[in-house]
Amino acid sequence: MKQYTQQYTKQHTQQYVKHPAQHRPARPEGLALRKGTTAMPELTSRRGLLFGTAAVSAGVLLAGCTSNESDDEPASNDQPAADDKKGKQVTIGFAGPQADHGWLNAINDNAKSRAKKYEDVTLEITEGSNDTAAQIGQIETLINKKVDVLVILPADGKALTQVGLKAMRAGIPVVNLDRIFNSPQAYRCYIGGDNFGMGLNAGHYIGEQLKDKKNAKVIELAGLDNLELTKQRTAGFDAALKNYPNIKKVARQAAEFTVESGQAKMSQLLQAQSSFDALWNHDDDQGVGALRAIEQAGRDDFIMVGGAGALSAMQAIESDNSVLKATVLYPPTMAASAIDLARALGQGKGVSGLAEFEIPSSLTLYSAVVDKENVKTYLPTGFK
């Protein structure tokens, strides 16, 4: 890993130095945020970079090698620490949906606490709204206020593309968080979770658990069906299950991410399926209700895998006294990373740990599976 990083770093540094269009000094060694690179969206068209587990574990995207000593230092640390040194003042505008459930609430908390960490960051946070028109209005207000960088978690990615474009045209770089805009022109950098991958990893985990079982039956408790992310999660789950010919998905019902709906839909599923071997629940919030329904029905003849990574779910996995055996992450730490990216963009710097001069245009996080083995590592990232 270390060697690989070095090689990779060298090659790419050279490439960049040779690049005719950019007369840059040789790459400064090991700086977490590199000066001299400005936020020019047209320079970085490379997209679809996929990051490994490390990225997830603690929002280590900008993880921190803050030393100036040597390139040989691997850019990984347990604590997410970008360059903490005070830089140019940056005002970051943050617009998200209404934080009406645990995950979105954790998104807001992550963004706020990350911004507070930096002396040079002022966070302009709007009141969250699930109404597209209201959110457009809020973002336009932020544009008029001339914030330096915008972080937008749209209530609906497609519907807010226009306002993203508007900000970019006004010269404000946009960090698009999680729900992606329709057009790459509407953001400078996208960072978000991997819904397809979440389903994929859940499917593979269940597949491995039931590998030796003949005619295994699996059911799925999905989230809100009118969201694209739910479809993607289901597609990933189905794709993974195709690798295990002994497993069949026998039922799927969609809840609404709420405890109440989780309880209601799960109790119906339990009634419909008198026996099955595994259950994947898309969301740990509705999982509270699902677990309640399972308890009420007195069932324990299957394993359950959750989604998102709520604290309560991780605690249940740790204590290992319910059907819940694992959960697939959808890390809310991405909001903290988005603030890091926005700050770097505002200060015209790059990020550490990569050879690139520029901030990538797209970052997709990895959905790690948390089970009893590794739950201790992830427990601090669990959200209420």
Binding site: D100, H101, E260, A264, Q268, A272, V288, Q296, A297
Partner: protein, 339 residues
């Protein structure tokens, strides 16, 4: 859709059949024809469920499940029925359920145990109802606007209290009520509560002055006032009653889901209104029955159950729900007209 009340089988022209009804009609005449048509719809649904999933649907556990799922929204609907009969509307029921359920499950409230939670849930419900009632009765606000305002503020307050978190209940006495062990002769306690609320609601509407005044206010408020009835106070009581039902429903929801969350009671107002309308309650007021509303709730819950058992997805469920609302109302109107 099969009609429970088919046209008379004699070959006399329609006019004479009206003048001389078939003998079985005499028996039926006293019962509400609309209620019978609802029973018909429910019977058809049960038939569909029984044919498509005989093992899972026609099962004691499934009956318990359907009734339990109906109980929370059912209690809300009873309160809503009173309000609609009086010519009003309460859009804030879902938000009040949410607020009451989160207020009653905060750590501070849970310190007071079972009684504390129950008391808080009911009190918050009644308090919100009181605000609604005062604004509408004495502030002369239109019910639609006053309760819409309550919807917004109660949801906001609920969000503020929870901060978006799920508040898990840790009191065993409450959690146990949702478990199988506490079923009384096979009847879940929640269903029992629903039954008690329904019976009391029916008695109040049909056997008390309060009930008759409610219908009178809905039928013609001005005439009622001229008859010497304090219409304003009656309205205040009605929104209080709706709030009370929401408080009870919130407590039941806490038992059911073992938690309080600000997303609780999502769109209950529409479900409750739809159930009341299907049940034959006039949106303009002056007419309606508790039995009809409860049947409306049961119809909705049964549909959801049948669809889930057959593994049909939520898009199909929603389409069917809409179609069934229209069908039920049309069937009712036709059967009502032929009487």
């Amino acid at each position: 859709m099969t009609q429970p009340v088919s046209p008379p089988r004699d070959d006399t022209p329609k006019l004479s059949s009206k003048a001389e009804p078939a003998p079985w009609r005499a028996v039926v005449a006293r019962a509400d024809v609309r209620t019978l048509s609802l029973l018909g719809v429910l019977a058809v649904l049960i038939l569909i469920g029984g044919i498509t999933k005989p093992d899972e649907f026609l099962d004691t556990r499934n009956l318990q499940l359907v009734l339990t799922q109906a109980s929370v929204i059912g209690v809300v609907t009873v309160g809503m029925t009173f309000v609609i009969i009086s010519g009003g509307i309460d859009l804030s029921v879902g938000a009040i359920v949410a607020l009451a359920s989160v207020w009653a499950t905060t750590v501070a409230t849970q310190d007071y145990g079972f009684v504390g939670v129950l008391f808080t849930a009911v009190l918050v419900g009644v308090g919100c109802g009181l605000v609604n009632g005062v604004l509408i009765a004495y502030g002369a606000m239109v019910p639609f606007i006053a309760t819409l305002a309550m919807l917004a503020s109660a949801r906001g307050l609920a969000l503020q209290i929870t901060d978006g978190n799920t508040q898990v209940v840790t009191i065993d006495g409450i959690l146990d009520l949702g478990e199988r062990d506490s079923y009384i002769l096979g009847v879940p306690p929640l269903v029992l509560m629903f039954a008690v609320v329904t019976i009391i609601g029916w008695l109040v509407l049909n056997r008390t002055t309060f009930g008759r005044r409610t219908v009178a206010v809905g039928g013609n408020a001005e005439a009622t006032r001229l008859a010497g009835i304090d219409v304003r106070r009656q309205r205040l009581y009605l929104y209080l009653l709706s709030g009370l039902c929401c408080g009870i429903a919130a407590f039941m929801l806490i038992i059911l889901s073992g938690s309080g969350q600000n997303t609780n009671g999502n769109l209950y107002e529409l479900d409750a209104i739809a159930a009341a309308i299907i049940g034959g309650t006039l949106l303009s007021g002056g007419r309606g029955t508790i039995v009809g509303s409860v049947l409306g709730v049961l119809i909705f819950t049964t549909i959801t159950n049948i669809f889930a058992l057959n593994n049909l997805q939520s898009d199909v469920q929603q389409i069917a729900k809409g179609a069934i609302i229209v069908a039920a109302v049309l069937v009712q109107r036709r059967t009502a007209n032929t009487t």
